[in-house]
């Protein structure tokens, strides 16, 4: 399993613990991540919110780089995932769009290769049976809710390796690690991450609702696969008065359950410390 790995901006900075846990877990599971040399920002929501062709070109440059080396792309950030997949879809069956993209990036691009999210790769290619075999410290009695957010599952005609309303992949993965996964209705609610810096009060209200739903479902922590959701859930919970729920990246929990080195150093980077929760479960 070899992929052109597109880390995206956050995984090297605000979500460094996600980036490090992704690399450690993939190495352990035999997923070879070959970092796409000289990758650039996908344009994120600011790209498509202001200029459609700019958004396509910023994402397209990276797609074209991966095509040069003939590899499918693996990504960890759902926002990058959606941008890369949308762009490929928009140009794949539309030669006019494709010619325009090629002109803008000044590189050949034929939309040949796929972009996959690591949650998809780990659940569906590595497989949960394989994961179970490698668990050395089951996350027993840890009560979790999986928070998928928006772009892992929506819009389903672009992304969609899982059900858009009631996705299961992360739930099953966490159960395979031994955790007690709670069902809840906040799985695919939007946390307002794209407004996190420009309309804090809006993001704050959405985060308060999501964390309250998680508490009511009996969760001790939330689990995410998105660097933007993670920052937003941590930062805007910190504003609130309620006791705060730690937020894990799914890869951190895989690392923890598999006893990988470095797990503690990833978790130290969280703004809401998960250590007392983990200690109470002997983890």
């Amino acid at each position: 399993m070899k992929y052109a790995y597109y880390p995206g901006c956050s995984l090297e900075t605000t979500a460094e613990e996600y980036g490090r846990s992704v690399r450690a877990v993939c190495a352990h599971l035999g997923i070879e991540l070959w970092e796409l040399p000289d990758w650039s920002c996908c344009g994120a929501s600011s790209g498509h919110s202001t200029n459609r062709r700019l958004a396509q070109a910023l994402a397209g440059r990276n797609l074209a780089l991966a095509e040069r080396v003939g590899l499918d792309i693996a990504v960890a950030c759902p926002a990058c995932y959606l941008r890369l997949r949308s762009t490929r879809k928009e140009v794949k069956d539309n030669s006019q769009n494709r010619e325009e993209l090629v002109r803008l990036i000044d590189m050949p691009y034929e939309a040949k290769y796929d972009t996959r999210h690591l949650l998809d790769i780990i659940c569906n290619d590595v497989g949960l049976e394989e994961l179970k075999k490698r668990v050395v410290r089951p996350l027993e009695a840890l009560q979790l809710v999986s928070y998928y957010g928006c772009y892992l599952v929506r819009p389903p005609e672009v992304v969609g390796f899982d059900d858009p309303e009631n996705p299961q992949s992360m739930d099953r993965l966490l159960a395979a690690l031994g955790a007690e996964v709670r069902d809840w209705s906040g799985k695919v609610s939007c946390c307002g991450g794209s407004l996190a810096l420009s309309r804090k009060e809006v993001a704050g209200r959405l985060v308060a609702e999501i964390s309250e739903m998680a508490r009511q479902a009996g969760a001790q922590a939330m689990v995410t696969a998105c660097p933007l959701c993670h920052s937003n859930l941590e930062i805007r919970q910190a504003d609130g008065k309620q006791n705060k729920l730690p937020v894990f990246y799914f890869t951190e929990l895989i690392g923890l359950a598999m006893g990988l080195d470095g797990a503690e150093s990833w978790l130290k980077k969280h703004l809401i410390s998960p250590f007392s929760l983990l200690a109470s479960h002997d983890l």
Binding site: C9, C41, S45, L54, C150, L195, L197, R199
Partner: protein, 193 residues
């Protein structure tokens, strides 16, 4: 919840309706005002027009109302409406189109703060090729004159190494800049986005 009457006749600018339909690639004429989008919209509470009303404004060609609404900026692009609409109306694509038109016509009053964010974000990419978060945060603070909120948080993130002091390094930053230049050029030539 506010309503727009369901039987508004075409009273506005029909060229505007056609342009939005074409640029967004979504068939908004199929919308039958069921309100699913507005009931599901996580940020409806912060909007002036609700999502189904924006669709209606476009259908009937009320250009000024649509382009100057706060809604097009507040929309978080969560894709919930697009996923659940029984008529496959891709509202987020409509929002993208309306935002681009509002920028072109310079009518962004109700979304000023969000536009500052988008522009700063993109200027950073143009300059560095990747996002340089520290510079992004500082510039937004300067431009919105909001110096003190989240200051402790920022310092903590610096200490933890979650905000890097050094900008990202790209070999082919010229390639990224060339993309922006070509876009500028076609905008200057009046090409539609």
């Amino acid at each position: 919840m506010q309503y727009v009457a369901k039987s508004v006749p075409a009273i506005g600018d029909t060229d505007f309706s056609s342009e939005v339909k074409e640029a967004s690639g979504t068939n908004i004429d199929r919308c039958y005002q069921c309100l699913t989008c507005s009931l599901d919209c996580p940020v409806a509470f912060a909007m002036d027009y609700l999502p189904h009303q924006v669709v209606r404004l476009v259908q009937v060609g009320l250009k000024q109302e649509a382009l100057t609404s706060a809604t097009i900026w507040v929309c978080a692009n969560c894709e919930a409406c697009a996923t659940r609409c029984p008529n496959d109306v891709a509202i987020p694509r409509v929002m993208d189109t309306l935002r681009a038109m509002a920028l072109r016509e310079r009518v962004v009053e109700k979304g000023k703060d969000i536009v500052v964010f988008h522009h700063t974000f993109l200027e950073n990419i143009r300059r560095w090729g990747r996002q340089y978060e520290l510079s992004l945060l500082l510039q937004i603070k300067l431009r919105t004159r909001d110096f003190f909120s989240d200051l402790r948080l920022g310092l903590r993130m610096l200490r933890q190494g979650k905000l890097k002091l050094r900008p990202p390094r790209l070999k082919d930053v010229a390639g990224v800049r060339a993309i922006f230049r070509r876009i500028d050029q076609s905008l200057a030539e009046g090409e539609r986005t």
